[in-house]
Symmetry: D2
Subunit: 284 residues, 4 copies
């Protein structure tokens, strides 16, 4: 059964919840989830409303039009989604395949609702066999300082051709340029192998080892031009001790990365994430 999902943010005002609830109810919508949050610090209101399309008196392609005047009254920033829309997805990897492997299994197991993995992109050939095995198109774009511009152009062309609306950087060790990112605002999810803001940039485990931390982490975030600085979606941590070599930390870290990236992708697919400032609201 299909649902409509409204994601709303605006400056906090009296009556928003009632107005949106009323909008849905008056048109016969059965509300499934309604979650809201007010950041009193930023005086901003956030809402996620999900209702059944069955029985709703407005056809799905007219809902946005119908909602517009209400949205304008409250000066909302808003997005309307439908739960049955397919999100065409590309996964970028380099040589570490643990996150890719994990996402593919979850994909098959039905844990990525609405996702269609249409493309795997890499600067190395390591993932090619896996792509083939799963019947997913593989694009090899080796990157050197000389070829970087061309590689990005080839990637962009292929993403456009395939109608990709979500890019997952599942340990892709190349920095995407602003030129690339402008096509995918809040549509590129990265996994970083540290507990940000600690150890942004390269070799986080070696630096964590050097520092002698007792806990390591992983962080998934939307990608912006500033490296490892985008809105954080999810984090997790694991305890280590002095006996852990850097390689031990890498292995424990990979288990964190798989979980933390998966949760971010899942919440993105379920339209549970709202970005504001450089932060995220994650609705239940």
């Amino acid at each position: 059964m299909s649902h409509a999902i409204l994601l709303i943010s605006c400056s906090d005002q009296k009556g928003i919840t009632a107005a949106v609830t009323d909008f849905v109810f008056k048109r016969g919508g059965n509300i499934l989830h309604a979650d809201q949050h007010t950041d009193t610090h930023a005086n901003t209101f956030f809402m996620r409303m999900e209702w059944e399309l069955a029985g709703f008196t407005v056809p799905r392609d007219k809902i946005a039009d119908e909602f517009r005047s209400l949205a304008e009254r409250f000066r909302m920033d808003w997005h309307l989604h439908f739960s049955d829309q397919t999100v065409k997805t590309a996964i970028f990897v380099s040589r570490h395949l643990h996150c890719l492997y994990d996402l593919l299994f979850r994909y098959k197991a039905g844990q990525l609702p609405g996702c269609e993995i249409s493309l795997i992109v890499s600067n190395h050939p390591d993932a090619e066999a896996l792509a083939q095995q799963w019947g997913i198109e593989f694009l090899l774009t080796p990157v050197t300082p000389q070829t970087k511009e061309g590689a990005e152009a080839a990637q962009l062309a292929k993403l456009k051709e395939k109608g990709i609306s979500l890019v997952i950087l599942a340990r892709y060790h190349q920095i995407l340029t602003g030129k690339f990112l402008q096509h995918f605002t809040n549509q590129v999810i990265n996994i970083h192998h540290s507990f940000l803001p600690s150890f942004a940039g390269g070799s986080p485990h070696a630096r964590a080892y050097e520092k002698g931390v007792k806990i390591i982490g992983a962080t998934s975030h939307y990608v912006i031009e500033a490296l490892d600085e985008g809105p954080i979606i999810e984090q997790d941590t694991a305890r280590i001790d002095h006996r852990y070599s850097i390689q031990d930390m890498v292995e424990v870290g990979q288990d964190l990365e798989r979980m933390v990236l998966y949760r971010a992708v899942r919440w993105h697919l379920e339209k549970k994430i709202l970005c504001y400032g450089n932060k995220t609201v994650i609705f239940d």
Copy 2:
């Protein structure tokens, strides 16, 4: 500033969210929090709605009357609370004082909003000095098989006299009778020193040691007549290993107990807990 809080449960029907939201909005209420949950398994709907009394056009002592017809239409089970109501509280302890000590510090630090600790009850004199130091009345009711009935009667009389509406069993090692409990439905919170349903009853750490578990826990729950069987409010766990003696487990367990009991008490005070069947909904 004072708020009204409505806790609602009823069988799931279309339009409940809209009706309740509308009720508040039409009377000038500014909604602060609205959280809902549907247990599709039990076909039951749950809601918590919190709004500011300032600007609300119905005086607080008329709100219940005004809401009644709506409640009856949906056959709701409902409770209306006000955030500025004081919850007179009694803490029962035996000889382990870590939870009592912890609650008293949080009380002073302002972490128990709306709570007034009016009484400490014990079957042992150990907590008396602490009660005195904090200026809280102390009731000593030694319990033997012979005196148990009288002890409970004395406790009940004192609770009534003090107008107690919340009883916290902060490691009170006596079983309360059904006769006692009938006066305090979902108003007695216990902390059990195991991860229930494992190791209900006595000596949970010794039994966990014997079993060789690698993780221990603590559980807070509302008390019902069946021992350690009431609706679970909160749980937490901690990792141990083969080096932990029973005494080590007791110490780690006490740190869990303090946290798990505190959270339950806090949520109770904030009216965030709804019981149904033998389970709880904990609203955000």
Copy 3:
């Protein structure tokens, strides 16, 4: 580089550590790890000693003979392992393949040192394609009350033929008989999808849902004849709340199961586990 590993348990006596250390040192062994534990409750001493074979003056096939008199003096229960010995392993599964899939990836990634996965056994054909893809022999042994005895006989014959010394039950939903298990004492590792001793037996997630627990878990253990009662090797837990359906719990549980089973298998391969009574010592 190859190492020797001694696992020792005996009643606690003065001088054991010194005697064993001396044994290794006098023969030119470079000690890499020495860990010990005394269960004062059971008056039992446990030790794990690992040293380099390079430079050791006793050839590896004579070490056991040489150690015997010392072992007898302290009435030790002891096992001598070598880090370069291959552990031929069979994985049993039914229809849930997440643990199998996870172990295969770790196998390829080098996270299962010394392991050779030689066989996948199932009562269902679901895992056959995966086995083929990885080039691992697959044995299909459908089980009904009528065929159970024959199925176990076929399994045992194949395990013997392949020289299997470790059986991993990676969500194999059949109970192995004592007849089977007598061939594999402390060599069969199971993953159970609950935090034992809670919810032993079938449908643990449905029962956890019914009970309203706030945390779920998974447990890996050596298999003994009594169902879900063998020595616990590892456990882990994850927080849930009232919004989790049984299916949500199953999914969160699967992520726990993968981790908890992997750790048990890894520690087994590294000879870090010592069983006593019905418990385990896990050396660092």
Copy 4:
């Protein structure tokens, strides 16, 4: 019963474990714990050896002399402790008293073995009543830029007078100078209210809020002159979400701080911590 504890570090060489073990055994010592670690990266060996003094043939005041030649042979950095030595301790606080309150309760409960809390020092009078209640001397040393030097001098004089060998900074919001610290190498333990190296310095929770992290932490470490840069002893983390205000984060953080500081102090008292480079080994 009294134990001797040897903490040893030196460059990694063959035979150290055997030599130290032999030293104890030959003199009739019953080894209770022996733990070792080799940092292959730094080619450094670490050891902690604990044995009973009862039955040891060397009187306690001669043990160091007796051990010296062995220590010199391996060029060890070593310390000999006795489990029955009292560690006179001063706790420094400013206005947040949760850690002080927690340590005092654990002190009374016997969770700080060997510790004698002889002094509470503060730049504010807030803790004075608590000190009085516990019968512990209280030193008030208000700090302004003008009085800082004098305040430190007064503190040092009092610490010397009382024979203090451990200083706990239980949320003391003043920076100790190098002049002060030179008297207490690896004897000053601080609790910082962030997961270091993230958010070193002031207002870590406000900065974590701004950053939008999903997990916060606390870190205990030995104090060196560089602010928040000393060897990390222990860390822990807690999950938060977008609903947490800065004040909520402060409260959750305080619960972490109590645990993380306590563990560090306990391990210090038990002589389980060895510093090297700017890191720590924590023996079991």
